[in-house]
Symmetry: C2
């Protein structure tokens, strides 16, 4: 049985991620607090490895803590930009991805989110995934990163055309945090 | 004064890098030996940080050791692919970069190499840089990675159109290893 009050620290500087996580976890009575902590992010093709390494290296006194990493994996680009999505977004943006896919009809892609939870020596990993496709142009103004060009499932709407609640229903991050919430609910004493 | 015989371990799986390093360091009487060692590569926009972290984490019994990291920084793409050049090459190749620069006349770019040397507690960093531009198409069959699309200086020839000796004269890696060689020459006792 896990013991702690209802607050978890989320090591991220991305306020959008905080809001998305809070949107899910408040359903489980959990409060997220943003924390500014030095994270060691390794280079790896595997998101789980990045999150695990960062969790292991994080300051032990901050508990319980979550670290999240996510990536957009585009089939025709062999999984690019993958774990480096945030770097690639900063450098070439949605326009760069659209240019790389110019004239391309196969636009399959998936978004993956890995949420890692740590309390004392306990580490748990949760994965959320959503398969979809890359739009032909940017659409919508909500969200962040590649949201304006990612269409989840078979609808004709990008993440950036959804409000937070709707995006959380579909999204990789919403799914990973839901899995965390369900696990916490079943594991925490006096929840 | 440094003390060791004339052999240095090079932690890389890239046989081309071994050959380029050996091409330079043999002028200084130094023999390079490839070594397969677990390297921790962090995500960072700064090559020096990546090399320093890896050197600090490397198995202490392997001495002296060098770690090298390099990147292609393209002006119009805000420095992309930078420290992630090898990942980006694997995923979208030279063709991906050419596509991103389609219709673009400003093609300025630079290649940077950081060579880190470690013996016991001593760590030294050497930097090599070459400014040039991205070609309009792939040319040449030598070298590796983005060599077929990188034109150093003001000549009209890519790295891939040069043999190893000529590339070493121009290249970022050649320059960094030459700086290492010169420093070793002036620092090693009984050299």
């Amino acid at each position: 049985m896990l013991h702690f009050d209802n607050k978890i620290f989320f090591a991220t500087n991305n306020i959008n991620k905080i809001q998305e996580a809070q949107g899910i976890l408040s359903n489980f009575g959990i409060v997220i607090e943003k924390i500014d902590v030095k994270k060691v992010e390794i280079q790896s093709d595997v998101l789980e490895e990045i999150v695990l390494y960062a969790l292991k290296k994080v300051n032990k006194r901050i508990i319980p803590i979550i670290i999240e990493d996510s990536g957009l994996f585009i089939e025709k680009l062999n999984g690019f930009p993958g774990p480096y999505s945030s770097y690639v977004y900063k450098k070439i943006g949605c326009d760069g991805i659209l240019k790389l896919l110019e004239g391309e009809k196969e636009r399959g892609a998936k978004f993956v989110s890995i949420v890692g939870f740590k309390k004392d020596k306990l580490i748990k990993i949760f994965k959320g995934e959503i398969v979809g496709k890359i739009a032909y142009k940017k659409m919508g103004r909500h969200g962040f990163g590649f949201d304006p060009i990612f269409i989840p499932g078979n609808i004709e709407k990008t993440f950036a055309q959804m409000n937070l609640e709707e995006k959380n229903l579909w999204s990789h991050r919403g799914r990973a945090f839901k899995a965390l919430g369900e696990w916490l609910q079943s594991s925490i004493k006096n929840f």
